[in-house]
Symmetry: C2
Subunit: 376 residues, 2 copies
């Protein structure tokens, strides 16, 4: 074990500034704190701008391992460990800043899905801050710093904590697994071209929106107790993929294209038409029905009185130009007939506009999150 | 970045079997699930023995990266990432197994401390399982496996989750920090001799107890809001140590012995007599007042209606031969006058007997946890 190996995570930095916010196309870290804030009474456009300036400046420093102004804890900021901080606006912010006419059409509650069992405590908030790091202490400290520095403007409504494999506990580029044991995130944009097609808002949008995107948050409870009653073939059939490799049931490799026309010796489809893979694929002639998934697992103490032995699931996060055109049709198809629905329940839902990236000197357009919108 | 570096955590294994249980003197991992279980009605000595046999066998396999019997999830057990699983008995187990005469004197609720604000929901349970890993997915899967495999015998009462720095985000041997930014765990046994003196029950005890120890669990809320109002010198005075290096205020290095006789130019003690360091040191002539601290940070969603902006603190775990002789006198002195009490509150408390280690062939005496006690 060499010193170099042991300090490599310590020093790892994801640039905070850029055309787009970090934490979306950048590699997913091991730990997530997704914090939903509500603005306090009396906050207006000027106050939102002050909060965004202050949070952006603090985040820039935290993500680069520098001590933010006013911090008393330099020892807790030395190891960013790939820290990213990503901020978004809920629908009400556009009312607060008196800019309802600028609010994107899609920034509203998602359509209701028949199987939803949404709980208010995991519902829409005014702001979201997605904080991710490969180090849980850095994560906690960055979260604490922003909660405190924003306390005059916004208060925590919920905090959704999640995790993936630790840094070093997986091979580079390996697709993460969820707690059902499934490879989760195979179909995802990876190239810049794919991100431009699916995620980043660009041409046609006003300048202050270019480079922005949307985030959908769905809290999905996974019933481990009933799932574990299934044998492996039944699990694979429900998903349409093999558990070991993540390959479609018609292929050998995780990234093989599923062959939905293939049939077995009885003439039945190899990939069931109610499998997750079948239901999630873009509809014929609708290549825009793709999204960037960036889901985290959760596993917390069982609720008192719960019948489930565990309290596990997904903090499902996805990014796309337009949730109504891209996420909604997929979720409608899943809600109608995905076989996985027997073991999963959507219990939380929210949508946010994710402003473009920033630059310290303002050369990208915004020196702090949403500056051009807030100072227009 | 080489493939070797990226798989080293993946393959890291802490031996499950041994004279003592792992997870006590072995290096602290990044992630903790401390699970308090209560036995279900009707469980008797034979059932406890069956549970211990089953949990020991499953744990042995999980910790070595092998799939436990009956598991459907081989993909989730490939990367132990230093997984350890450590089991303990609360006082009631000795009643259930009809062996009250064998129960250690100290296996009872700790004396009340005047500042305690204990909540039943973090109180004593029949069993405790301490699960630690450097990988949060391995941690969640191991926890789930044991919860399910034990469901006919025991149900989860609480789960206390905690974290330290990620593997690779600190230098080897570096003492961890808590969320107050303090180095936490400087005074700890490190050599085998120190562990024999302070932690492992040996000579004079019945054979089934030799190699066992006790675990004290204290859940300690840390009020970040009021702590952060202090400037750095006041924080250092309250602790008696420097924040940057963790050195005592009379020294330069973390491991320098504090000089409690040193005075400043006004003749006042450099280390305040109400500082944490002063209060925590063994009383004159009582070198046995030492413990193995293995505390984890917690940081979870704020409670609804809480006045604190954050919900942070310590899952304080310590191990010692006898909590009444070793932990209690320290905690009494801290409870009486530790200046840190202004910012911390003990909200949970429990004590467990931690059986000796195991060996697959029974050559250490127990093929499963507490076999000699349970089969006596």
């Amino acid at each position: 074990m060499t010193a170099a190996a042991d300090t490599r995570l310590y020093d790892a930095i994801v640039p905070f500034d850029g055309e787009r916010q970090a934490g979306i196309s950048t590699p997913a870290q091991a730990n997530l704190n997704l914090v939903g804030f509500n603005l306090v009474d009396g906050v207006d456009r000027g106050a939102v701008a002050r909060l965004m300036r202050s949070w952006s400046e603090d985040s820039r420093r935290l993500c680069t391992g520098e001590t933010p102004l006013g911090s008393l804890e330099p020892e807790l900021v030395v190891a960013p460990s790939n820290l990213t901080i990503t901020c978004g606006f809920g629908p009400r912010v556009f009312e607060v800043i008196d800019a309802v006419d600028k609010r994107p059409e899609w920034l509203q509650p998602l359509p209701e899905y028949k199987l939803d069992q949404l709980e208010d405590r995991w519902g829409q908030t005014d702001l979201v801050v997605q904080i991710c790091s490969d180090d849980p202490i850095m994560l906690a400290h960055a979260t604490r710093h922003l909660v405190r520095s924003g306390m005059d403007y916004a208060r925590v409504f919920w905090m959704q904590q999640g995790f993936l494999r630790a840094y070093g506990a997986h091979k580079p580029g390996e697709t993460p697994r969820n707690l059902f044991g499934q490879v989760d995130g195979t179909v995802n944009p990876r190239s810049e071209e794919e991100f431009n097609e699916q995620v980043w808002i660009a041409d046609g949008a006003p300048e202050w929106m270019q480079g922005s995107t949307s985030m959908v948050v769905r809290r999905i409870n996974m019933n481990m107790d009933t799932w574990e009653m299934l044998d492996r073939p039944s699990r694979e059939e429900a998903m349409g993929r093999k558990l070991d490799t993540g390959a479609p049931l018609t292929g050998e490799d995780e990234f093989d294209e599923p062959d939905f026309t293939a049939t077995d010796k009885f003439g039945l489809p190899v990939i069931d038409q109610q499998s997750h893979v079948f239901r999630a694929k873009p509809a014929e002639g609708h290549p825009e029905q793709r999204i960037k998934r960036r889901a985290y697992n959760y596993d917390i103490a069982p609720e008192p009185g719960s019948e489930q032995l565990s309290n596990s699931g997904l903090v499902f996060l996805c990014f796309q130009k337009d949730p109504l055109l891209q996420y909604d049709p997929i979720q409608k198809r899943l809600d109608e007939a995905d076989r996985l629905n027997e073991w999963i329940t959507h219990i939380g839902s929210a949508v946010y506009w994710i402003p473009p990236g920033t630059s310290e000197d303002g050369s990208t357009g915004d020196a702090y999150w949403a500056q051009r919108l807030l100072e227009a």
